[in-house]
């Protein structure tokens, strides 16, 4: 029993890492621009489908395919920011919310038209099982965990020690004050979108390699990303890592000990409970950006 629990914990940590990646981008974008960027899920599936096309259809090597997919996602994110969200920034929030949802649905339908409704997968290179005590993890899954931590550590450093990080934090705390202090709002917004979309691209590649992608995957993942973001509180990078892991573990253990059929519900149940007792998030005293 304890061996099985250990294995499920490892499964949950790996899945939770994916939730962390998507939540991180969402958190940055919401923090800086106040946008509920549901189309972030679209960016995830674009990465997955492009990765699939490059590696499986065109037969390219995995590494350049991944890099190219992430670059494409970054460009898509920048285009969304520049041509969809920026013109809408002065409009009511509900307009932006519907716009984001609309983009998610459009990309979902386009993906189904182009790649079909069936699940597609990228075959991860050198993906062999390795034993960690009684539990098993593939080399690819281990790499995903390590890359996640490295990327998030890098992001934490960027936010904490660079001028761009200070600009982002300034914008998140007070947009007008940041402008007065010389922060280029448009440029910073674009960079936040670019970074967030690159993280979403990485998440899409990992998801398609470890699990499989279907057109509706984007919607499911972005909801979980939002759940993590709300669970831990806005813009808290270490908190987001923990939140993603909580979500992954709750799902994995819930499916093991309660029922696999309700796997997607367990994380949201925890979110609701957390909101009842810590409305500002598990790790925030009040809603603010923390690094």
């Amino acid at each position: 029993m304890s061996t099985m629990v250990l294995q499920q914990v490892i499964n949950g940590i790996v899945t939770g890492g994916l939730y962390t990646l998507i939540a991180m981008g969402l958190s940055q974008i919401f923090g800086v621009l106040g946008i509920s960027h549901f189309a972030h899920g679209s960016v995830v599936i674009i990465a997955g489908y492009l990765g699939y096309t490059f590696t499986r259809v065109l037969g390219w090597a995995l590494f350049p395919s991944v890099i190219l997919s992430i670059i494409c996602c970054t460009v898509v994110g920048l285009l969304m920011e520049r041509f969809a969200y920026r013109p809408m920034m002065t409009k009511p929030q509900i307009n932006i919310f519907i716009l984001a949802l609309g983009m998610l649905f459009i990309v979902d339908n386009l993906a189904e038209m182009i790649w079909g409704p069936d699940p597609l997968a990228i075959q991860a290179a050198s993906n062999v099982p390795i034993h960690i005590g009684p539990a098993v993890l593939t080399t690819f899954r281990l790499a995903v965990v390590l890359i996640n931590f490295a990327v998030l550590f890098g992001l934490w450093g960027l936010m904490k020690f660079t001028k761009l990080g200070r600009s982002i934090r300034a914008m998140a705390q007070n947009r007008e004050a940041a402008k007065i202090l010389g922060v280029n709002l448009n440029q910073t917004s674009a960079l936040v979108f670019g970074i967030g979309s690159a993280l979403a691209g990485l998440c899409g590649i990992f998801y398609t390699s470890m699990i499989q992608i279907v057109p509706s995957s984007g919607g499911t993942l972005v909801l979980k990303g939002f759940a993590v973001m709300i669970l831990v509180g806005l813009g808290n990078i270490p908190g987001t890592i923990v939140g993603g892991l909580i979500m992954g573990l709750v799902e994995s253990l819930g499916a093991t000990f309660i029922s696999e059929a309700f796997k997607d519900s367990y994380g949201f149940l925890v979110l609701i409970l957390a909101m009842l007792f810590k409305p500002d998030g598990l790790f925030n005293r009040k809603t603010q950006i923390k690094y």
């Binding site: 099985m4 499920q8 499964n11 699940p119 098993v136 699990i211 499989q212 992608i213 093991t256």
Partner: protein, 443 residues
């Protein structure tokens, strides 16, 4: 000058349009008769020709497309072959087969709608295809209430309940009902080293859940211990939880009962958890479908069982090789079970029309009921069992063929024939099941 050339252009366009419409009208002939066919003498007064229209209702998209698409391709291949050789011969008239095709999207309500359209709008009387069970079973409910209007000829829609509901006798099935799958197959599982087996099944699908339960019932009889049953749904993509539970429950083998893509993902998950135990899959499909999800290495020690289908070396007469070659040439993909059954259905239909020497739907149906295995074209892929009097169909309009056990070949990167099981087991087991279920349902 510009106006003048525009006018000439319009006139030319009108002439062209009239010519196209005229030729289309001529090509289509008159409106179809009540028999879903029409015919007449050739322009030169020679041999008469005509057209027979059949409906094709299949799962071209959706969760059943893994079976429905090959099924459709098998149908088209056979129809092309029949038409290329002059069509169906009735008296001195050669009838060309024309297909009216609909995609039921693997959805029950859509299948009801497409069958109704075929009957009421397209006025066809024979509907073939039916590659997946869910859609087929739903459409059968309509067919049962309109027994004078339609004959369903089913291929791979193998749910055992189909023949339970076929009380009006207007549904025929060449694919073996999956009620007796477990009898020989579980014995084969024992042979390949399954002693403690975990089952992962798509339990929200009637056909799969019935099969999974039947397998588990047979485990005990064959000395296999069942270590657990885990559930999944169509389009699930993450099976880590279920696989972890079964492996840690001590399974030395896994049986998957569900759609091909999901089953392939389960295989991949088992291998990624470091296990190389034998995996027996209920769904067969083509090699390329499995390699779309798994690597060749992950497929090592995998097995599948399926109703009789094209398999190189399965017979000595070259039938299997010829079919495989024709299918690959036409579709650039290797054949599976669903396409073979649909392919055979076309030849069964042809034999029935020629036996009836009529295009009257009820006469053709009656002739189909009396078909003998020896009436069939030798190109039929299935090794049909000759029932009493050499008949093809039993009292429930079910044909029988043995099962093939396939092993994954690392060299050929596809399934290869390993054993044939279940010969002669089908009729008695199926009969018992249908009668028992009919009694339960008061039919």
């Amino acid at each position: 000058m510009k106006k003048g050339s525009m006018r000439i252009g319009k006139v030319l366009l009108s002439v062209l349009l009239i010519a196209v419409l005229t030729s289309m009208t001529a090509a289509c002939g008159g409106s179809g008769s009540g028999s879903g066919s029409d015919g007449g003498a050739d322009a030169d007064g020679g041999a008469k020709t005509g057209t027979i229209v059949w409906g094709v209702d299949d799962s071209l998209t959706g969760t059943g497309a893994g079976s429905g698409l090959p099924s459709y391709q098998g149908t088209v291949l056979a129809v092309e072959q029949v038409n290329a050789e002059g069509g169906i011969q009735i008296g001195d008239t050669s009838y060309t087969i024309q297909l009216k095709e609909y995609d039921n999207k693997s959805d029950a309500s859509e299948a009801v709608s497409t069958l109704t359209k075929l009957l009421d709008v397209d006025k066809v009387h024979f509907v073939i295809g039916w590659g997946s069970s869910t859609a087929t079973l739903a459409a059968a409910q309509i067919a049962m209430t309109r027994q004078d209007d339609v004959t369903m000829v089913v291929g791979n829609g193998r749910t055992p309940m189909l023949m339970v509901y076929n009380t009006q006798g207007n549904i025929f099935r060449s694919g073996t009902g999956n009620v007796y799958d477990p009898i020989g197959i579980v014995q084969y599982m024992k042979e390949v080293g399954c002693n403690k087996t975990g089952v992962i099944a798509m339990m929200n699908d009637t056909a799969y859940s019935v099969s999974a339960k039947q397998y588990m019932e047979k485990f005990e009889e064959c000395g296999i211990e069942s270590v657990g049953l885990e559930n999944f749904e169509a389009n699930d993509t993450d099976f880590n939880t279920q696989v972890t539970k079964l492996l840690h429950a001590g399974a030395d083998s896994i049986l998957t009962v569900g759609n091909i893509i999901e089953s392939a993902t389960i295989v991949r998950t088992i291998r990624e958890q470091g296990s190389d135990i034998p995996i027996v899959n209920f769904s067969a499909g083509t090699g390329s479908q499995w390699l779309g999800v798994c690597t060749n290495e992950q497929m090592n020690n995998c097995y599948t069982t399926r109703p009789w289908a094209s398999a190189i070396g399965a017979t000595d007469d070259g039938t299997q090789e010829a079919y495989t070659e024709a299918y690959i040439a036409r579709w650039n993909d290797s054949p599976a079970q669903a396409d073979c059954q649909a392919y055979d259905d076309v030849w069964i239909m042809k034999a029935a029309y020629e036996k009836a020497q009529s295009t009257d739907p009820l006469e053709v149906r009656a002739a189909m009921k009396e078909l003998k295995v020896s009436d069939l074209d030798p190109r039929c892929v299935d090794a049909f069992e000759a029932l009493d009097g050499d008949k093809l169909f039993d009292e429930f309009n079910q044909a029988y063929a043995p099962y093939q056990c396939m092993r994954w070949s690392m060299e050929e990167k596809t399934w290869t024939l390993a054993a044939v099981v279940g010969r002669n087991l089908g009729p008695a087991a199926h009969r018992e099941y249908v009668l028992e279920q009919r009694e339960k349902e008061g039919l």
